[in-house]
Amino acid sequence: MRNLERLGEKMQLSSVFQAGGLNYALISDTETNKTIISELPLTLSEEFGALLRGSGAKPGSPLVLEASGRVEGYGVFEFPYGPVSWGVPEAGAFSLMTYGERVLKVVPRLNFKKRGIERAVLGRTPEDALLFVERSAGNFSAAYSTCFAAAVEDSLGLEVPSEARWTRAVALELERIHNHLYVFGRLAEAASQNIAATQAHALRERVLRLNSRHFGHRYLFGINSIGGVSRGLPKDERRTLTTEVRLIGREFSELVQYFLSSRIFLDRLQGTAKLTRKDALGLGTVGPSARGSGVQWDDRLTFPLEPYEDIYVNLETEDGEDTMARTMVRVKEVESSTIALRELLDRMPSDGTKSGPHRRRADSLGAGFSFCRVESPSGDLIQAVQLDGGGRVGSLHVRPPSLVNWLPFARSLEGTVFTDFQFAFESFGLSFADSDR
């Protein structure tokens, strides 16, 4: 075991999965920016144990993410919230331990919408499996399908043309923009800034329409196939897309200026739901939520798939550790995504969007697995795929970004008040569909 005692300080346990009868741990080293694969056994904390048991859970059995330590005291009771509510427009529930206004502990209850994607794809061809995988989480669909396709292509030894990979990156960045705009709009709704919220949602609708015009689907379903993309971006479309993205980027900056001039809005974000850097690392936080606490990890830079080595992406971090910091990371990421998009569209190679016939990499079939990490809008998404002898999916392991962000979310809410709940929930960008899959 190499330096694993430093886990939680400079290193972060990202995922644990089974392949070929062995347990593997995937560890992110935030100092050297390397992904380390290590064989278990690792001593896992109780909290991670709950997460890992959850990945094997059957649909219908609830997954209760209870952090250790009971809360007791005069008048403490459990306030159940969900699974049917409008504040969280998805099926998922929370137990809030409280004696009144103050939240002492939050226990997320998951698996209300577990469809069992990892088991549903078994024995299917990778192309058919893609239809399931991209419907794991509708708002992170491009990240899911890109991650799955890249892992399968790696194990098949497919030479994917650069144009296809660059087109995927364009989809990923558009997805990031529309998700960050959604978070922004929801935060404004939570602060009762209704005009501001509708403006953010209107801008988001424009991005969704861009998606549908250039990729054929508002939520980017069906854009990927194994070995390429379903539809490329011709030269003239790249040009119009660049113009549109520039307009949206400019309008967003203007919108942010309006937001930041509203003291009421800022007051609600600053100091709300703090997550310390130590907790962020120790609890395995990923994505903008981790970067808002100063964790330097972004898969686009630390696990770069093809185009991201060639284009400039800035690692956006903040040290505020609160909702404001997480929001500002997202704001800066929208801006850096629009810059990245301009570069992606400008320098995209034209060498076709489909790979040729594939040569199977012999070692990848049967025992081996290949994994891929993609930076989804809410953070690091990991998939490990194993193909069986017939080239069908033998096993699939998904480590969704939302799943590991539930415990940090719960920790950040300890000691806050009920009205902070919405701000914490939206700023972490959590999705039940994503974590339940």
Binding site: V84, S85, K113, R115, I117, A120, F132, A202, E205, A433
Partner: protein, 247 residues
Amino acid sequence: MWDMPKIWVFRGLKKGILTTAYPKSQPTSEEVPTASLPPRPTDAVDWSAGERGCPTGAIDSGGKRVDLGRCVYCRLCSSAGFTFDDGSGSRAGALQAGLTGRHAAGARRIFGRSLHVMMIDVGSCNACNLEVLNLSNPYYDLSRLGIAFTNSPKHADALIVVGALNPAMVDALKMTYESMPEPKLVLSVGACAISGGIFRSAEGFVSPVGDAIPVDVVVPGCPPSPVQILEGLLLAAGRLKETGAMR
């Protein structure tokens, strides 16, 4: 440095009107993208030419009939000769919400002027949820039609159900339905709610929503675009004629 005051009202006025003209006129291709159009069989349909077959079984083996309730709009059948656009540029064919036999004739008198809607998620991928939420953005602006979202089943006239019914959500769905005051409407939105869609063979799917509670209107799509959901709501409230025009 003097900072320009940021006044939202002026900004809003500067943006002009974004809202769709639907239902006064047909939706545009921006509002109902081609990806939301149903597959249509052509004369050239040869299902055996398609390598993979229909992943949800929406197209029967003869290859001439499409069950829209099952279709996930993956467009794989385009290689077998199905087309997605009638070429006229009209989006009339995109409006495909359907009434089940249950729907009462007097709906317009009861719900025609004001409709309070609640959404329940019973196991979706979040795309349908987001499209329903999108109905309140300025592009669709639900409230101009006297339709409003509510967050309690006790206040709701209509229930929008999204997602493939999960074993963990069966009781919650029934309890929500029973909490609604009579008379009430139920819309089953998206392929997952209508038939299970792509998840009809997955472990986490129990049954179509229609088997658990009575459904009045189905809105096919994966996910249906906001205009299509809006059409379903207007249809449920008895405000559309058979032809799709406003009554």
